[in-house]
Amino acid sequence: MDMFPEGAPQESEARLMREAMAEAAEGAPPLPDLVPVALAEGRRRRTRARAAIGGWMVGVVALGVLGVTLPSWGTGTGTGEGTARVGAPSPVPSTGHGTPSPMPARPTTVFSTPPPSPSSPPGPSRTPVHIEPTPGESSMADLPATERGRQEKFQQKAAAVLDELLPAAFGTVRPVDLAVSEYQGGSGGHVFPVVLSVQPTGDASGSPAQEPCHYGPKKRYRCEEAALPDGIVARTVTAVGSSKGGKDIVGVSVRFPFKDSTVVLSADGDESAMVSAPVNADQLLHVARDARFLRLVRYADAFPMEPKRESVHGG
């Protein structure tokens, strides 16, 4: 049964809506010609995209030539993921919780490694949430095959770790195939966007600066600083994303600098259902402090998957 038929009772409201929108749209202030600026910005975007792919290719070759070793990381979850690695399955198991394996691996091998063989410990594979990209959204499908494979593997590991560390109310955390930083929890018909971003931001002077807390209305915004291992100072923010009928949708994030990267872990609420993210700042900090989570961060910092952060007006 359709609970929300679009029938006659709504017709007058819909007509009113259309008329009001037409009037408002017609009354919008004049628009200058945006085409010249859009052309320039579009060309910059093209250049940046090419540079990002080119930079990745150079990095792969350089790392391969230099034989740089990769840190490996196991989730150490005790659920069959303990020896999972980004690279080729190693005959040497991980040394356990919180300790990066000393087993070196060549990045060239890692980048081109096929999925774990059937003899590997079976890890839960999460079907990615498919989101059809528009031209405005870069998609993992646009990446070179080897890089895409590397990012997909990372997403699987990250989803497994997040699944274990986030509250059960998130349901199963799955990767989103639009971007390596995007994930989605789902429970009870609700969808909770999750972001795990490790974005290179370091400049010549070293690690990225951490923005201090700035304070907003207490009811809508709370920013706190907290300590992570190795003296890292994290900033947690709990904020109201939107409100309706006196009900707020609250999202939570934790942000911290890690070597040359800025790490953001955030959980948003389900806007359609007006449900807040089922996690609080302390719980998100607990995730960020966990050795399994920090192994993910360490890998993504050493072998970036996201383009270097730039200030781009308008997204």
């Binding site: 809506m17 008329e19 966007p193």
Partner: protein, 169 residues
Amino acid sequence: MTADGSRDSTGFEEFARANQRRLYRTAYLLCGDAESARDLTQTTLAKLFQYWHRASKADHPAAYARTVLTRTYLAERRRRLRDFLAHSHVDAQPSAVAPELTVTLLTALAELPPRARAMVVLRYWEDLGVQTVAELLRCSESTVKSQCSRSLATLRTRLGDPHLYTTRS
């Protein structure tokens, strides 16, 4: 610039000039103020040009552009939430010189969550069907129906008696 590149930009310019005003109007209803609407429209056009070789091959490039605009708007709102700048980016109030109905509408739209706002704008301004809106926003048709129904009720309360407006002129 190569000959292909020149044709590329010429085709884009023709498309952009013919469609920028319509995109801007939609952006205005989504954002609620002219400055944000211009930024959103410009970003949308830039993204379209970045991928123009693909966008130009779409069956309906204008619909394609509308999709880019809507998703860019939603992504921007999500980014604000993620960066928690929402508190410092309150939607600008409609101009005081705007007609009463416009002020009321934009104020009412501003109270809706971004996705609900996008649904209403696409459904009633762009006049898209429920299925099309659902596909564009990647949600179920029932979600679109329920959101639009709730949003209409909210807006109806805000806007008051339709006869006040429909008979005004």
